[in-house]
Symmetry: C2
Amino acid sequence: MNPPTPWILGLDLGGTRLKALCLTHEGAEIARTTVSSGGDDWKQSVKQCVDQLVKTHGTPVSIGVAAPGLPARDERCIAHMPGRLPGLVDLDWQEFLGFHKPVPVLNDAHAALLGEVWLGAAKSLRDVILLTLGTGVGGAALTNGKLLRGHLGRAGHFGHISIHADGPPDIVNTPGSLEDAVGNHSLHTRSGGRFHSTADLVAAAKAGDPQAADLWQTTIRDLAAGIASLINVLDPEAVLLGGGIAEAGDDLFLPLAAEMERVEWRPLGHSVPILRAALGEWAGTIGAARQSSKF
Amino acid sequence: MNPPTPWILGLDLGGTRLKALCLTHEGAEIARTTVSSGGDDWKQSVKQCVDQLVKTHGTPVSIGVAAPGLPARDERCIAHMPGRLPGLVDLDWQEFLGFHKPVPVLNDAHAALLGEVWLGAAKSLRDVILLTLGTGVGGAALTNGKLLRGHLGRAGHFGHISIHADGPPDIVNTPGSLEDAVGNHSLHTRSGGRFHSTADLVAAAKAGDPQAADLWQTTIRDLAAGIASLINVLDPEAVLLGGGIAEAGDDLFLPLAAEMERVEWRPLGHSVPILRAALGEWAGTIGAARQSSKF
């Protein structure tokens, strides 16, 4: 009998689900599982999930966690997160999981970018940004090969740039934010109650609904303005788009390319490629696992 | 007779003037001079200026250059600059000055930030951004102690973020940019022909002119929206404001603080200090000199 393969574990904790992914150091998948994290007893579900994986595959070499909010500087816990997931803030994950070495905790969008850099659409890139377009708009930046964390760990909150400075405040007080202009959470309001998901909006626009087509075009214009801004601030060699809205594929990327033609600064004719993130909703687990292997 | 003090030279080339500053390695001033760089023969003026300094003070240990535009990756020249200063693009400064070692060339706002980090308002900071508010709006970022350059060297072009996504394009196609909302270059248009300088606008607002007060308030609101965005993207520990408009002092910083109260994301009550840059228009020469000493 061969000794068990050494493996690393990435956890991605969301408001409703925990995703767990077991990988080799080369990134080959050993197992994946998803459990509910919606209730007040989410901690128990997480603990049971990890215990079960250990029982089946043995103790991992390292464990990493992706979670919403701002991680502490020492990466042991989430230091700040408004709402949801009671008990997450200040939870020391090494202690909680009873693990024998530090369990690094990353912001979930940061983890997703590290996943894309390791195994996805950002391989070999050194300056790249990711925007996650879903319920809200999140993001992360790699600059000169390193994750941009900033002073409090909040760098990359691209949803919270102001693209309509005289607009109403968003959840963190940003006036007329990119998140409110693009995220699914505001679509019901933006569409006068007609649409709940961007997929429905795009389908209606394609079916010839002029109101839907207008709204989709406005959404893309706002997104393009945000991306152009970020290009001028961070100067990436590529922009990745992930999250549910990016699943619109060509219906997003083609009109977006036309808008970028209009609004992007292209010194010496250089334009920045806008790519679809490759790893889907498992990117965060992959990045968390990868980060843990450095501890 | 003592041997001459070793010194380093910082040059800051603008559209109308070259500033030259001779410093010791500790940052003590030995000499400063300014010559015109406005005409087509600006290169000759620069060369004469440097030759004169060498004649007086001996050969410097190193020379650094700050200039408008995007420096090449190897820092030997400016690779891209629209308009002005004919012959600047691709000019190899080591060759041009006949110097015995590389002469690093920096973007002027990047150089100003490095100056502030060395001897000014950003000493001991590791994550800090600078906005230069003048004719246009420029900027630079230090992240984790390093200058953020990006892929093409354009990182930190904070004037070219879109704060009115449905607005007209600015000089690099950014719709409704921060530069067009705040810079002196657009004030004549923004004020319906009434004002040419922000200093005049502020004076009129203070004298009780309601139209001027409104316009100044709108300018500050737009600036605050831009700064709040940059805080959420780069997460600095401090924001520096430089350039002519920052000379408004309390007339800028006090109403800006009130606006930031409204639009800044303050996790755990943390607010980011907004400071006045300390080195004025010589910051670029200081940063260029400092950078050269690392070559």
